[in-house]
Symmetry: C2
Subunit: 344 residues, 2 copies
């Protein structure tokens, strides 16, 4: 717990070279004669020397750290995407600094400050206030202040700001779902959970209504059950749906949590899924896989999603020209929660 840190000066001295030479073998940015290189490398191994990242960053003004601000890592969706980002970042030689917003605006702000103090090379924001349909202007200002200095990437909306956006194509998801459900003969389709004030949910609602029309299905106000994103909300909304005189034959849950809640409500009411009612969800987290029955769910290919996020960040850091807005195309993973519509 003491033992002073070894530096490039120590290495240089013992190797009989200058600190610059040691630095050169460390960064590989310049040629060094094989003899000296080996001498230095030997000592590095001998002392298990690791350069001080602080000093390095201070000197070259690049930290090789990417700030990752997520809503709540305890949510499997964010966890999946975060890990994907961490892996992709590692591959590109970057480290991730992960912070949770936890629905606390002050925390979110202070974490943003922290990232800035840490001089991260870019910040990637997933979830949090960036998802709001109407962006808080004070927040937008905060983001803009940061995005003037470093690239800012979001999976949300954040309008009024100058940042890169990589959004899930919710419209395409909904289209896919309708194609699938109608192909199974469903005509009474409900949409469960989510809040209109969240951009992605808003888009889903719009598209849901549009598609109901397009497929000539009769739109029922009661089939649109607003809730939040929790299992509890899914449970509650599903009960409402089941109590309707004409309950839907298929329900689209806004995420896996609400789908699990819906499953619980159905089980309690003696309604079998998928025999009596089909359920389909968004996100395809591990919950889809472990629920009973397993959920048919919209997947975003987290590995690729994370990679693209990191790729945008890295290119932006390098000042490469990249589009400000991009989409990730979802995919439908078919499991056991949907089946042919039954006449009832």
């Amino acid at each position: 717990m003491d033992k002073k840190e070894i530096t490039i000066y120590d290495i240089a001295q013992e190797a009989g070279v200058s600190p610059a030479t040691v630095s050169r073998v460390l960064t590989k940015n310049a040629a060094v004669s094989p003899a000296k290189r080996e001498a230095v490398e030997g000592l590095i191994r001998k002392y298990k020397f690791r350069p001080n990242a602080m000093a390095r960053s201070l000197s070259d003004t690049k930290t090789k750290i990417l700030g990752l601000l997520v809503a709540d890592i305890r949510n499997p969706y964010y966890a999946a995407l975060s890990v994907a980002c961490e892996e992709a970042a590692n591959q590109q030689g970057y480290t991730v600094m992960l912070c949770n917003a936890l629905s606390d605006n002050r925390l979110e702000d202070s974490n943003l400050e922290k990232m800035y103090e840490q001089r991260v090379d870019a910040v990637i924001q997933i979830g949090c206030r960036a998802d709001d349909l109407v962006s808080d202007s004070a927040y937008a200002a905060h983001v803009n202040r940061i995005s003037r200095t470093i690239p800012f990437i979001t999976t949300g909306k954040l309008d009024g700001t100058d940042c890169y956006r990589l959004n899930i194509d919710d419209v395409a998801s909904m289209r896919m779902i309708f194609e699938y459900l109608t192909s199974l003969g469903h005509r009474r389709i409900a949409l469960l959970g989510g809040q209109k004030k969240i951009q992605s949910t808003y888009d889903k609602w719009q598209q849901y209504i549009y598609l109901m029309g397009k497929y000539e299905l009769t739109f029922h106000e009661a089939y649109l059950q607003e809730g939040d994103y929790s299992e509890k909300a899914g449970y509650r909304c599903m009960l409402e749906l089941l109590e309707l005189k004409k309950p839907p034959t298929a329900v689209i849950a806004v995420n896996d949590f609400t789908a699990v809640g819906a499953l619980k409500a159905a089980a309690e009411k003696g309604v079998q899924v998928p025999r009596d009612i089909s359920i389909i969800s968004f996100d395809n987290t591990f919950l889809s896989e472990i629920s009973t029955p397993k959920l048919t769910s919209v997947d975003y290919n987290y590995a690729a999603f994370g990679q693209r996020l990191i790729e945008i960040a890295v290119k932006a850091i390098q000042n490469q020209k990249i589009p400000k807005e991009q989409l990730v195309t979802p995919t439908l993973v078919i499991r056991d929660s949907c089946t042919q519509a039954q006449e009832r």
Copy 2:
């Protein structure tokens, strides 16, 4: 995306004071006359100046960063504990640097290196190789090399190393479970999932066997179903148990995932939980809350657990004297998955 960074020199100049004075108002480590302090603070606000954390760390050799190495943040147990740590760390003025080991030893090692390069003030390790019953000696050496310089805290075993341990009291958990189950009249109790090579599981097994004796229950080899920690394993092991001529009336699942798998197996076999068989689990993650039925589970009070971890780290950093080994006492959260044993 350009705009040069503002520094304490800029602030000092405009305020007509020396950089040292600006530093003093920043750190609050020394007295500054009210007039100058206000002038400086005004400019800090005006420019929204944030000191460069790299420079600061370089200078005072404290980064105020805690390295958090976890097995896999996608696992709700680790997610819960990590968030608790992050919150506690924030409260103490520390930032957390979170890395996943992902069951990849090379990744784990390189993440440890990364933390060292980043000169974190301490590393806290949760899960990963630290959990192994018999610690890998090369790994122990690696840890020791680090723990000579900075405090190392683990929730695992890691013997042969000099680090602080905060372990869950698995023996107490098991005792609690037995008290509860036997009070419900259960005498045929199985233990499902987990691998003996993992310390905490090994301890659970030992205690299980001991308690079977103590309560004068007949120990059945087949009631000890080794598996891993996945839902799949829980499912498979539960099927085995249900096929026994004398199946258990209660099963203790090693964690929530295996319990969920067991639930699924039971449902499939038409065995009702808890009417026909009781299930109890460890970890009390959100899965216990959303499963059907809700699981009775052993809880660790994540908030307090995380706080203690951080507290140990912080005290160790300050060279305060603290015990090398401590325990966290679990608690039983009773929900709907256990009931009175039925004669069958």
